[in-house]
């Protein structure tokens, strides 16, 4: 596989102190679809290539991801109605966090106890903290007029 990254390396990248020097802003998708997205460059003194924070709040589901420069999702917090099945067959439920490993890639999940799922804005701040990302400014607050899971 061309994008080989071990779990150990992914976890190391998560632990490294990182920062976002640009405003974290939400963008509404044009075309009448209830969808908001964010994308911000994540920099780290210890690695050459920048990483990417991405977020999508869809009609009912939402997720935040930290991607390496090679677009490997080393952490992903997601709420998805249909739920998720881990590679070993266990049911991960609708609210879960994906980890990266070299065998199952981003298919393995667990239920995070450190995330407040009741508010998507609070969850984003929790996700940034877990990924050791310090934003220069607090993320723009997303006002969600629809009901999310």
């Amino acid at each position: 596989m061309a994008y080989h990254l071990t779990r150990q390396e992914a976890d190391r990248l998560i632990r490294l102190p990182k920062r976002i020097d640009e405003p974290i802003r939400w963008t509404s998708m044009p075309g009448g679809t209830d969808r908001d997205t964010l994308s911000a460059r994540v920099v780290c003194r210890d690695i050459d290539e920048p990483m990417d924070l991405r977020g999508v709040v869809g009609r009912t589901n939402w997720s935040f991801l930290l991607l390496t420069h090679a677009r490997i999702p080393i952490r992903k917090l997601t709420v998805h109605g249909p739920g998720h099945r881990n590679p070993d067959g266990t049911d991960a439920g609708t609210h879960h966090k994906h980890i990266w490993d070299e065998v199952h890639e981003d298919q393995e999940t667990y239920y995070p106890v450190d995330i407040d799922f009741s508010d998507v804005n609070v969850a984003l701040i929790g996700f940034l903290a877990e990924c050791n990302i310090i934003p220069e400014q607090p993320p723009e607050r997303l006002i969600v007029r629809r009901r999310l899971r």
Binding site: A2, Y3, P30, R54, L65, P82, G83, Q107
Partner: protein
């Protein structure tokens, strides 16, 4: 295998397949949870609504678009793929990123598979973007 055991097998498979497609009522629409998967093992769900007595509308609620974007695919690339997927699967040509299929009620099950396959067609962009980024990094390292 005789005719009777063939019917019995068909019945058993029918029951098992039925259990793989739970339907829930959520957010003002019926959602069919399919056993088909996104690359990260998340099940693909399809919204379904009766348009009239003879036709149903199936939609991915824009989830394929959102999945690709969240995994680092840039918007122009997603837009291009969405257009291609719509043409390839004969989906509705609409604004925005939703994948929508309008079918006669007696073709709803076939439409469900077709739309879930269309969702995968868009979501699999994530593999391409990972490979292309890795290749760029490799080129820079070598040069």
């Amino acid at each position: 295998m005789n005719h009777r055991s063939c019917r019995s097998l068909q019945h058993m498979l029918g029951e098992q397949l039925q259990s793989q497609f739970p339907v829930i009522h959520a957010f003002d629409q019926f959602m069919v949870i399919t056993p088909m998967l996104y690359p990260d093992n998340t099940r693909i769900d399809i919204g379904i609504a009766m348009r009239d007595k003879h036709r149903v509308m199936l939609t991915d609620n824009g989830e394929a678009w959102g999945y690709a974007f969240a995994h680092g695919v840039d918007e122009p690339v997603i837009r291009e793929r969405i257009e291609l997927t719509r043409a390839r699967f004969r989906l509705a040509d609409i604004d925005g990123g939703d994948l929508i299929l309008d079918v006669p009620t007696n073709q709803a099950a076939e439409g469900l598979f077709k739309l879930a396959t269309a969702v995968q067609d868009v979501a699999y962009l994530v593999y391409g973007v990972r490979l292309s980024q890795t290749s760029k990094t490799f080129e820079r390292t070598v040069n």
